[in-house]
Amino acid sequence: MSKGMGAWRRRTFLGGALAGMVAAPAVLRAAPPGKPVRVGGTLSLTGFLAQTAAIHKIAAEIMVEEINGRDGFLGRPIEYVLLDDQSKPDVARSLYEKLITVDKVDLIQGPYATAPILAAMGVAQRYGKIIIQSSMGIPKLQTYDMAFPATPFGPEPDKSYPNVILDAMATLSPAPKSMVVLTSKFPSAQFMAQGMRTEAEKRGVKVPLFLEYEAGNRDFGAIAARVKEANADFLWVGSLGLESNQILEALRKLDYRPKNSFHLYPAPGPLALSPDGNLVWSSTFLEPDEPFMSRPGMKRIAEHYKERATKANLPYPIIDAQAAGMAAQWQILEQGVNGAKSLEDKQIAAWLKKNVVTTVYGPTKFDGPYNHGAPAQLIRQVQNKEWKVVWPKDLAAPGVKLING
């Protein structure tokens, strides 16, 4: 980045700061005439999940504009009423109640992360509202019959996804015989870690070390020493955010580099750019490559996203599964409303259960347990400082293969 660019950014920062802190930037107005359909939701604009909200907010704003640019909901414009749940489930809970009873929104959109979603789902259930969410990593907790997942986790990702990873591992030569499972105690990561251990042992891959660390752990020195001592063929990390970077750095300080490692929910930019990140694996549902870019609307959304995210000063302005989840949430709601030709929650839910919806994740059904369709988790790998889908093979980017680390 040049100095000129920095100065420019600073000016917009000052202007934007004052404007943004006074005005109400969350309500977007739109093209089609008529009384707007109000859709309320919260995101963790502040607090420890705030880095995700920035991504989702941009994706949501793009989608609201897209939908208004088409025909809105039943020919009426839509308006997104966004509130800050501060990354706290109980705040999310009261804000959804406020959105429904005080602000009287017509529809709601789910927040981010399992805990706020669960809190919001409780409210939705009480008031009989349909709720669509994209980031609940533990599908079996979605017990409300009008709650729909926008992300293809599948009903039992703790069984299905470990097997995708084990399949990919089996193609390496030599195939890993042992695996260290290290996970944050963040519930959805812990849930996947337990599944990983069970499935690995079922398939004869030994798990000599299974470690849980507290979310927000500061120093990984001792943990790294234990991982090094266990010296397994594969390292599976149930990480969030920068924990992966920290763990890999701590390992390198001990002069140890796991041959291959998998990272559940890392911060994609920093991990891809880190020298330690080369060839590491991570979970995804799509990347801005073929074949995903050929999906309807995907190219346009990806371009918009890059533009907005750069403007918002996000360090990783590339659309990935996170942002795509929010996009899918709106695509599902749009098709549900317009398909059911109604703003009634029950009718939208009934229509969604009977029909196939097309989202950035491809054709989506809600016919399985907990309203989940088929799982579609992929493995991506850092190659030349970029994330590339490498597994399953038929969804890998053209010319890209899984590389043994």
Binding site: V22, D84, P89
Partner: protein, 320 residues
């Protein structure tokens, strides 16, 4: 002798403003739906702040971890509703009981040492409890929060309705009853001895006040009140999360009490109303940066309004 008695009764006599206030608070139940959500939140926060007032405003103990008791009360009530009975009053009683016990046990730890170590110990107790709740997800739901709290109708008759009218009535009544009780307590010789301790511990000791015992009692009482607030929170929202132990909660309630003024019981209520309305207003104006404005407001408020509010507090905190 008579004049002393008179002074005592004057302190406990009802003022017309109080009657007006409570009539207005209960009168709000007749409002159309749409305001009960925030009114209920105010009532609960007010009770929480009132409980802090009992130790800060009357006994002069500064706590940075008052959320410990709120949290314990909330989880007790939530777990009871989930596993045993959804009866709200049973939950309230259990929460008060559990937090009383916790308050009593920790009081010995808290009351040892100086003001500074108190800050740390209260902070520490809340943090350790938060970690404990996080470490026992099989009971508490961990970071996902406690799900499946279902409340039975209040007194077997009044369902918790969608708009929160019952919830507000329940919280307000609890607040009213406990505020009345607190009023009696602080006006009693016990309460006066607390004020004496706050003003000058050595002198109070010289006058034969059993300082240690009184402080333990006050701390335990405050814990019980905070536990009640926790129960109301869990029951009226049918949800408990780890956030009940959060440092921000303890800091917020301290701010609430400072806004309203410590040491006169209604300070917590006034502060809670001001804080919640302010938060609600600013957050709906600017959802992303509302904290900035709240922070700025508080700085200015504490700096400028401090002289008026901190006169009594300074004595507590200036170490000699």
């Amino acid at each position: 002798m008579t004049s002393a008695k008179e002074a005592l009764t004057r302190r406990t006599r009802w003022r017309w403003a109080e009657t007006v206030f409570w009539l207005a608070a209960f009168g709000a139940l007749l409002l159309p739906p749409g305001k009960f959500l925030i009114l209920n939140e105010i009532a609960i926060l007010a009770l929480f702040a009132l409980s802090l007032d009992l130790i800060l405003g009357y006994a002069g103990i500064v706590s940075l971890g008052h959320a410990a008791f709120l949290g314990v009360g909330a989880y007790s009530a939530g777990l009871l509703a989930k596993h045993v009975t959804g009866d709200p009053l049973a939950g309230l009683a259990l929460a008060i009981g559990v937090s009383t016990i916790l308050g009593f046990c920790t009081s010995f730890l808290v009351l040892r040492g100086s003001d500074l170590t108190r800050l740390m110990v209260t902070l520490g107790v809340a943090l350790v409890l938060g970690e404990l709740a996080n470490a026992l997800p099989q009971y508490t739901g961990g970071a996902d929060g406690l799900q499946g709290v279902v409340m039975a109708p209040l007194l077997g008759r009044f369902d918790f309705d969608l708009f929160g009218r019952t919830a507000y009535a329940y919280s307000l009544t609890t607040l009213f009853v406990l505020a009345l009780l607190a009023r009696r307590i602080v006006g009693s010789p016990f309460g006066l001895s607390l004020s004496a301790i706050r003003c000058n511990q050595l002198r109070a000791r010289a006058l034969g006040v059993p300082v240690g015992k009184r402080l333990v009692a006050a701390y335990t009482l405050a814990a019980a009140y905070a536990g009640a607030a926790g129960a109301l929170l869990a029951q009226t929202t049918a949800f408990v999360s780890l956030d009940v132990f959060d440092f921000h909660r303890s800091a917020d309630v301290l701010l609430v009490l400072i806004i309203g003024g410590a040491g006169w019981l209604y300070g917590g209520i006034a502060g809670a109303a001001a804080f919640k309305l302010l938060q609600d207003g600013i957050a709906s104006l600017t959802p992303q940066y509302w904290q900035f404005w709240i922070g700025l407001f508080l700085v200015v408020f504490v700096l400028v309004g401090r002289e008026r509010l901190f006169g009594g507090l300074r004595k507590l905190l200036v170490r000699r």
